[in-house]
Amino acid sequence: MTNKIILSVKDLSVAFHKRDGSTYAVNGISYDLHEGETLGIVGESGCGKTVSSMALLKLISMPPGKIETGSAIYKDGKDLVALSSKELRLYRGREIAVIFQDPMTAFNQVMTIGDQMIEGYVEHFGCTRKDALKEAERLMDLTGIPAAKTRLKDYPSQFSGGMRQRAMIAMALMCKPSILIADEPTTALDVTIQSQILDLMKDIRKEFGTSIMWISHDLGVVAGLADTVNVMYAGMIVESADVDELYYNPLHPYTKGLLGSLPSTDIDNDQKRLKSIGGYPPILSKKIEKCPFADRCSEATDICRHGCPSLSERTGQHYVACFNV
């Protein structure tokens, strides 16, 4: 990880305006991604972690989705929000690649793995099929798929789940992107395969120096992989810090609640029931005016119900959006 910022998100808001009302899925988030950094994005279902990441490449369906005015996503000095989808296509897969959650559905069943792997490569570099297949073979070999040359001719149904995820990672690496967005890539896999994929990602990071945005609701996975962690709640980043700092010294009540609700593997632990955060996340049909966590927060005071805290720095590089911390 270097100090060079390769992606800078400023005040990103995404809303879905439908005929029967709007959903404000992402509400003004800002963060920087450094070269070689692994950024973990955690939060519960529906907190906007996937939407905010997919919005970087406008991969959300628009309409009804809309990146609100005032949002900016800077990559190499260019604002991605302002680009047309034709211009943005040059970034998709080339500069920023996506690894999808479910390797079972993210492949076309009637096309060979090899043909799917080279599709983006041929599109972006305009090289021959033969050269592209050679590169695909090299990357499949690299991601630990044996007999890569023959496996390239296989169809996705002939791959196991873990192998498919490896193939998808290899596919994402084809164009040597500077950023990989990994959208819960281990959620659909069992734990042994999960740990193999995590090891693979660590190796890839070391080998290619790629920045990774790792979207997950699994705090354990993020702890083992990320350098920095953004905790999202109701479409906002409520806490952002270095991974160790965040896990050992959580400041936001929501982060504390999340970490407190992890199951303990300690048998002697007299904690009988799993702790949980009471209440439900807010329905995002209106713009956020008060602290979205206030209704579930034991430390909430009057001020929390009348204004929305913004993310501000506490101790070095530790950002929190809370009035009471």
Binding site: F100, E123, S157
Partner: protein, 303 residues
């Protein structure tokens, strides 16, 4: 230097032989031949087709047309294995020539109507919005006509004959293919691999031709076989009614017409049972083949 860097972590080493590399089409063929009825269907269809093509070549086909008053309404005998009709023409030869007409009308009309259906349904599904609405309402309108009546009107305007029969069928039969294509495309468009393709920066039309259409193809092919069976029956009905293919060109439909006379129906079964059986057998075989294709072309089937 990076080659095999992560290899030592590859748990799967050596396990690769367990997954023999076989293509989708090779597997599809295997699955098809495991389907017993489909195999029976294709064998029957092959026999019917080959006999229709080659029997009139091997034997002089003029016996199907030349009027022979010395042997009218003869029951099956050594010279005419299925007997002769009211004009002394050889029934078996007419049956084979009729097969040529019926099968080619079926095949050509099914292919043409499917192509029209794919084009219209594809445009509707892919572009969506107003275009979709326009095309699909037009399709609905076409479907709400009573088929046989419109067909009869069309043929009576255009005049009977093989070409016009095909044309009338094509103009009215594309609606199913259009609906199926549109439905498939709408479904596939929302699948994750299309999103993944978008994330790779592939342009829309390449996605349409490389991913969406191949995935939509199997239900369309299956539908085409059923359309073909349907078309053969339609041609038979029209010819039976005297609106399809005109005499003296034999088709199974106009051969059946003889059965409209009570004397024929009760006394001369060799005149109407063979074309009836041929129609039933052909349609049944095509439907079996269609069923087999449906199982064989299912992209999700692994075995």
């Amino acid at each position: 230097m990076t080659m095999g860097l992560f290899r030592e972590k590859g748990i799967y080493e050596g396990a690769s032989d367990a997954f023999a590399s076989e293509g989708f089409w090779k597997k599809a063929v295997q699955r098809f031949f495991r389907h017993k009825l489909a195999v029976i269907g294709i064998v029957l269809l092959l026999i019917i087709t080959l006999m229709s093509i080659f029997y009139p070549i091997i034997r002089d086909s003029s016996i199907a047309f030349e009027v022979n008053y010395t042997a009218i309404n003869a029951s099956p005998q050594s010279g005419n294995i299925m007997g002769t009709d009211a004009l002394g023409r050889d029934v078996f030869m007419r049956l084979m020539l009729g097969g040529r007409v019926s099968l080619s009308v079926g095949l050509v009309a099914a292919i043409c109507s499917t192509l029209i259906g794919i084009t219209l349904g594809g445009i509707a599904g892919f572009f969506g919005g107003k275009i979709d609405n326009l095309i699909m309402r037009f399709t609905d309108t076409m479907m709400s006509f009573p088929f046989l009546v419109i067909c009869m009107v069309l043929v009576s305007i255009l005049g009977p004959g093989i070409g016009n029969t095909m044309l009338a069928i094509v103009l009215l039969k594309w609606t199913n293919a259009a609906r199926i294509t549109r439905g498939e495309i709408l479904y596939i468009r929302e699948r994750q691999f299309i999103e993944a393709d978008k994330a790779l920066g592939i342009n829309r039309f390449k996605t349409l031709f490389a991913h969406i259409i191949p995935n939509a193809l199997s239900p369309i092919i299956v539908n085409m076989t059923f359309t073909m069976a349907d078309t053969i029956m339609t041609e038979a009905s029209l010819s039976f009614l005297g609106l399809g293919v005109l005499l003296p060109t034999p088709t199974w439909g106009n051969m059946l017409k003889d059965a409209s006379s009570l004397v024929t129906l009760s006394m001369r079964p060799w005149l109407w049972i063979p074309p009836g059986i041929m129609i039933a057998l052909t349609v049944l075989s095509i439907n079996f083949v269609g069923d087999g294709l449906r199982d064989a072309l299912d992209p999700k089937a692994n075995l």
